[in-house]
């Protein structure tokens, strides 16, 4: 590092730079715009990486092309031969909850549930997670072991690429600036095959210090069809073929795993960074290999039911017309907030959080970190908990937005039972994080009316509270669970 290199401060409260905003309604349209902007446009899916990078000013695109309204890209299609086509806009949460995925690719479901927060799970997409090109991408290792194949489209045509050829270096993939990821295919699972994913991080809700996935088939006491991959231990997520080789065809034993663990540590090329150190990553990689295999081994014994569930779509809405908003222009959008339709003039780079707070004077929703790490800004969009600090106001048009101000009964002003529970359990102190926690917990109770303590904690894992130590919050949410009544 240069001595005295200046470190300019960024502003996580805003998207400082201007950009054009485009909404594509077809893949062709998105590709057309990509070409028009000649590498200066970025595609917007979940926004949980894109806007963080833009706030950190590591990316300054000339245009943001919203592809979330393109039909058909958010579906999980199970083919008759058992292979699965996953649309790039399928959210991490949808993937984690999908019955076919859970049964046949448990490692993928586990990876999805290990994201830093429910909000990121809900907003983030599988396509975004891969195209961001992070060495720490949680879904990448397991998808590598599953032999995922990507379909990439450009105006020149389509090509397919095995995932292992996709990642080039930190933040860099083989995706050309004019290309778009349009599909991910998982080959049909071998009968009896399984997968597992484990992650080591500072606190549970965090980026990985190191992550590891294994896919294999158990034949009696023998390991077959084994693949091993890791994240955060090399410039890209990587397959470890030599480790897989060492396990393949072998009789399962602790000695075998210990040797394989050592081999993992020797194979990877981790670095020192703010999250951990290289030597520690080597040690933990060894342990992750052994723990992952030990965790998956007994579960791999039972042949899985060949259940093929109906694909679940992320409910999408009527198709709007293609919308384009130039850099310096304001556009009038209609937001539906707490059941009221309101028209506001916004610029392309205005965040929903700031529009709610400054223009609609709904200050219950709070800014605290600006980069989707604390969840204080959580609102519900179409009933799902999302981070309003990483949502463009213009892209929220036409959706149902609920803020903490909308939790009370609009007619009587009666508090929601969850709000009552927070008061009765003194589940707040300073109250600053409370609105975000309420909106998240309410979404949990809508999804899972009778959660247990583990479910409450997992769902709220990304909501930071510095005052209470969380116990009173858990008590309050549990008191609203069905079985309590």
């Amino acid at each position: 590092m240069d001595k005295h290199a200046p470190n300019e401060m960024t502003n996580s409260h805003l998207l400082v730079r201007n950009f054009d905003y485009l909404e594509a309604s077809t893949i062709g349209e998105a590709l057309y715009w990509l070409e028009q902007y000649d590498g200066r446009a970025r595609l917007l899916a979940g926004g949980t990486d894109l806007f963080v990078l833009m706030k950190m000013e590591r990316l300054n695109p000339g245009a943001v092309i919203n592809i979330t309204k393109i039909p058909g890209l958010n579906e999980i299609k199970v083919n008759p031969n058992g292979s699965v086509d996953i649309g790039p806009l399928v959210t991490i949460h949808t993937l984690a909850m999908h019955p076919y995925i859970r049964v046949n690719f448990p490692g993928l479901a586990a990876a999805c549930l290990s994201f830093g927060s429910t909000q990121i799970e809900t907003m983030g997409t599988i396509g975004g997670n891969l195209c961001n090109g992070s060495p720490a991408a949680d879904t990448a290792p397991v998808l590598l072991t599953l032999g995922a194949e990507l379909s990439l489209a450009s105006r020149q045509g389509k090509r397919t690429l095995p995932l292992e050829a996709f990642f080039l270096s930190p933040g860099k993939t083989d995706l050309k600036p004019t290309e778009m990821l349009v599909g991910i295919t998982l080959p049909a699972p071998e009968p009896g095959s399984t997968s597992v994913f484990l992650k080591a991080s500072r606190v549970v809700a965090d980026l990985a210090k190191a992550s590891l996935a294994i896919a294999f088939t158990r034949q009696g006491e023998r390991i077959t069809g084994c693949k091993v991959a890791m994240g955060s231990v090399a410039p890209t997520p990587i397959l470890l073929p030599n480790v897989a080789e060492a396990l393949n065809g072998q009789i399962f034993s602790q000695d075998l795993l210990a040797d394989a663990g050592k081999l993992v540590a020797e194979t990877i090329s981790p670095i020192d960074d703010v999250r951990s150190s290289a030597w520690y990553r080597r040690r933990i990689a060894n342990v992750l290999l052994q723990d992952a295999m030990n965790q998956a081994w007994p579960l791999a014994l039972n042949p899985k039911p060949a259940s093929v569930a109906a694909p679940q779509a992320n409910g999408h809405h009527h198709l709007p017309l293609t919308k384009a908003l130039g850099t310096d222009h304001l556009t009038e959008v209609e937001l539906t907030v707490n059941g009221c339709k309101t028209k506001v003039w916004v610029a392309a780079n205005e965040l929903l959080l700031n529009v709610l707070r400054e223009k609609l004077e709904l200050t219950g929703t709070k800014y605290a970190c600006g980069i989707g790490e604390c969840s204080a800004c959580t609102v519900q969009i179409d009933g799902k908990p999302m981070l309003s600090c990483l949502v463009l106001a213009v892209s929220a048009a036409g959706k149902e937005i609920t803020t903490v101000e909308g939790l009370q009964d609009p007619k009587t002003g009666e508090l929601d039972p969850l709000q009552e529970a927070f008061i009765n359990n003194t589940a707040f102190q300073c109250g600053y994080c409370t609105p975000g926690i309420l909106m998240t917990a309410k979404a949990l109770l809508n999804e899972t009316p009778d959660p247990d303590e583990g479910q409450v904690r997992h769902y709220l894992r990304g909501n930071n509270c510095r005052c209470t130590g969380y116990a009173s919050i858990v008590r309050a949410v549990l008191s609203c669970a069905d079985h309590q009544e």
Binding site: S12, V204, G469, I473
Partner: protein, 787 residues
């Protein structure tokens, strides 16, 4: 008043601010807007240590921004924190930097019609810097020849030279340590290091200022002390305090971060005065993270003891990393030894503390103000001593702790008082039973990958900095209590509630004293215009000192109620009593021996009103003459994964002696919150700077890891308990709790980890990397690639 007869105090009641806080209606400073308000932004230094060569603001001004540079500000050096008396106060801070001393230091400020325009304008300001040697290690900073951060600072009204970047030193000698050590049989010693971690309060610091037509200002600010904020603003801007009104706001957590007048406050005020329009200035998280942190400490402590476990004396040397400015660093040096000698009887003391400037975020108080650091050292050493002596660590503590009837000087050498209430034996007993202390095994009996350990951390915090005599620290409170025409009561206090329930406690104490139902006692919104002085909500003093003031004044109101009612009831005032009548929802004034001589407070107050007589009210100040210890004991069972170094919290027994428990739910919340922040300090939180003075996290929340909901133990394993005590100097027997809840937590983790794996850690945080590294060393294993 008998404790068991309390009707309101000790009851769990829905918090008065509950509805506001669960509906998003609570207004924090960041939520405030005013008509014609401008948005402020600052130009932050991209260097940690630099001279400012030139500033060109023309491009920003061309955008229509109001721009503030060093030339526009009053040339006055001040200290943001003025609880230290003037003669002992170091002042090194200007509103905008004269010279850059930390990364992100505000150099220029702008205000514009929108936040975006302000941001643009700030970026258009051109500043030329001459970078200087960056000092992030206090030991380097003290070396001769190191680049000086300051040539001089103000000390009171004198200008003093700063040599070797040493901002202040403090020595304390009591008894004769050499003699005591010569007579000792056993010694334990260690060098303990703690880092400059970040408060991570959820609300970023903010200010809104409105210039008033009469030349005054109204200020909404994130602060723990509205009066001290007003006084400093008066000094800087030379405005009479009678024209400065600082509003008391809800605060989104502080943990000490807003104990001083925040740096943004005078910048916002100066911008507003220049613009002649309201200006709001809110820090981004990045700026906030560079703005403040805990004091880092590096302390060598040696304790001597006799064979029977009697402690003889302590020798301590400490270097405190103050960061770029001094915010109560001198007091910090004093309290650091105070915490040590108030934990255990150490009659012979030799101490030297040095406060050093570095190019890092200024250290300000953070929950415990040096106490968790001191407690980590002392409690670790006591465990070591117990092992050397073959004594039960619990027994060693009971033998030596500072308890009932003893002199206690928690808040530094000049703040001494007597312990009048002591729940320590009870707390230790309960915790011992809950955690299964007696089944605790020594580390050498443990093997295998997952090893469990039980640890104890015992500690305290002083409630207030009260003392019989004035010292170098200001500590008093005040309150105004008035009876309304319907028998309800307004309590007007300057005391800020950071979220812990201080206002709830004050309301309960007044309700109890005046026998008025709690729903009719309101701690009303207030500001510096409407309140008498209160020093600050800090030092675990909210309930004890703020509540103490409210009870003192409520007693005066009670006296006036009796005198006034005596007039109507035709009896002697002394014959009157008060009781709470829930059916009528009123306080009833009555004569026990004459049943028909009674009236409700409403009848009394409405009569004095309709007869054009008076408002029954009182206002007064209250100086606590004691600072009783709130004792806390933390027992933990943890599990160390010896393959990964990860620590999991399995079970806890958290106990507090806070005297009368005013808000039981709030007090439990304090213990649970203290555990969470304490475990963050013990295991996770760090704030590392590179050699250029840049935070490795760059100010992003993602790398300032605070514990989440997954790190707190399961509900069934989280035990909390209270000691049954009554503090005779406290309001209705109450002491505080706040900081005490955190202070012994890191020590308890260090001791539990030792008990699990037989390795003692002297530096926080105890990360998996450190644990695994130490385990590998212990096993004499070759570390591949260890740097």
């Amino acid at each position: 008043m008998e404790k068991e007869n309390f009707q309101v105090v000790g009851q769990i009641t829905p918090r008065k601010d509950g509805v506001a806080r669960v509906t998003g209606q609570e207004k924090y400073t960041v939520d405030m807007t005013l008509p014609r308000m401008l948005y402020g932004r600052t130009v932050c230094s991209p260097y940690a240590h630099a001279r400012i060569k030139s500033i060109d603001t023309s491009a920003a001004e061309a955008m229509g921004a109001v721009v503030l540079t060093f030339n526009d500000i009053p040339p006055i050096r001040y200290n943001e924190r003025i609880i230290t008396v003037e003669w002992a106060l170091h002042k090194d801070h200007y509103i905008l930097a004269d010279k850059v001393r930390r990364m992100g230091e505000p150099v220029v400020a702008v205000a514009a019609e929108t936040e975006k325009l302000a941001e643009k304008a700030a970026r258009a300001v051109k500043v030329e810097y001459e970078p200087l040697q960056v000092l992030i290690d206090p030991r380097e900073a003290m070396k001769p020849g190191a680049a000086p951060l300051y040539d001089t600072v103000m000390y009171g009204d004198k200008e003093i030279k700063i040599e070797n970047n040493i901002a202040c030193t403090r020595e304390v000698i009591e008894g004769d340590v050499d003699k005591a050590f010569a007579e000792s049989d056993v010694f334990v010693e260690g060098t303990f290091k703690t880092h400059k971690i970040y408060h991570a309060q959820m609300e970023p610091k903010s200010v809104l200022c409105r210039p008033e037509p009469d030349g005054g200002i109204t200020v909404w600010a994130t602060t723990q002390s509205i009066h001290n904020t007003r006084i400093v603003l008066g000094q800087i801007f030379d405005i009479p305090l009678s024209k400065i009104n600082v509003k008391r706001m809800a605060v989104g957590g502080t943990f000490g971060s807003s104990i001083q007048m925040n740096s943004v406050v005078p910048i916002g005020v100066a911008l507003a005065l220049k613009a002649r329009r309201p200006v709001r200035l809110t820090l981004t998280r990045e700026e906030d993270m560079h703005d403040h942190g805990r004091f880092g400490t590096d302390a060598h402590i040696k304790i001597g003891a006799k064979k029977d476990g009697t402690l003889t004396g302590v020798e301590m040397e400490m270097i405190a990393d103050l960061g770029a400015h001094i915010i109560q660093g001198y007091s910090f040096l004093g309290v650091s030894i105070g915490w040590v000698v108030s934990l255990y009887r150490l009659p012979n003391v030799r101490y030297k503390g040095v406060g050093v400037y570095t190019n890092k975020a200024p250290g300000c108080a953070m929950q415990g103000y040096g106490n968790p650091q001191a407690t980590l050292a002392v409690e670790s050493l006591l465990d070591e001593l117990a092992e050397k002596l073959g004594m039960d660590p619990l027994e060693l503590r009971l033998k030596n702790y500072v308890g009932l009837g003893m002199t206690f000087w928690g808040q530094g050498p000049m703040v001494r008082s007597i312990v009048w209430s002591d729940g320590v034996p009870e707390l230790l007993g309960k915790g011992q039973e809950i955690i299964g202390w007696d089944k605790r095994e020594s580390p050498d009996t443990k093997s295998g990958r997952f090893r469990r350990g039980i640890g104890l951390g015992r500690g305290f915090h002083t409630t207030s900095a009260g003392a019989p005599q004035p010292g170098d620290v200001i500590d008093f409170s005040g309150a105004l209590v008035k009876v309304n025409q319907d028998g309800s009561v307004d309590v007007v206090t300057a005391m800020v509630d950071h979220g812990g329930g201080t206002w709830e406690a004050i309301a309960k104490l007044v309700a109890e004293t005046l026998c008025v139902p709690l729903d009719k006692v309101n701690v009303v919104p207030s500001d510096t215009f409407s309140t008498v002085y209160d020093v600050c909500t800090h030092a675990t003093r909210g309930t004890y000192a703020g509540g103490g003031a409210a009870v003192k004044v409520a007693e005066q109101v009670k006296k006036e109620i009796f005198e006034t009612a005596a007039h109507y009831l035709n009896v002697q005032p002394d014959a009157l009593k008060l009781r709470m009548d829930h059916e009528q929802g009123q306080a009833v004034i009555y004569v026990p021996s004459i049943p028909d001589r009674k009236m409700t407070l409403k009848q009394l107050a409405s009569r004095t009103w309709s007869e054009s007589w008076k408002t029954i009210a009182a206002v007064d100040s209250y100086r606590p003459t004691n600072c009783p210890p709130a004792y806390v004991t933390i027992f933990l069972e943890i599990e160390v994964d010896t393959w990964t170094g990860a620590v999991r919290t399995l079970r806890t027994a958290l106990g507090v002696d806070c005297g009368t428990v005013v808000n039981p739910d709030g007090a439990i919340g304090q213990l649970e919150g203290g555990l969470s922040r304490g475990l963050g300090m013990a295991l996770y939180e760090d704030n590392e700077w590179n050699d250029q003075g840049q935070l490795l996290s760059k100010g992003y929340w993602v790398d300032a890891k605070t514990p989440g909901i997954m790190e707190s133990p399961a509900l069934k394993d989280l035990n909390t308990h209270f000691a049954d005590t009554y503090e005779p100097t406290g309001p209705l027997g109450a002491k505080g709790i706040g900081e005490a809840a955190l202070n012994p937590v890191p020590a308890a983790y260090a001791n539990a980890i030792y008990n699990a794996i037989g390795i003692r850690f002297y530096e926080l945080p105890i990360t998996p990397e450190k644990i695994l590294g130490a385990l590998m060393e212990q096993e004499n294993m070759v570390k591949e690639g260890v740097h």
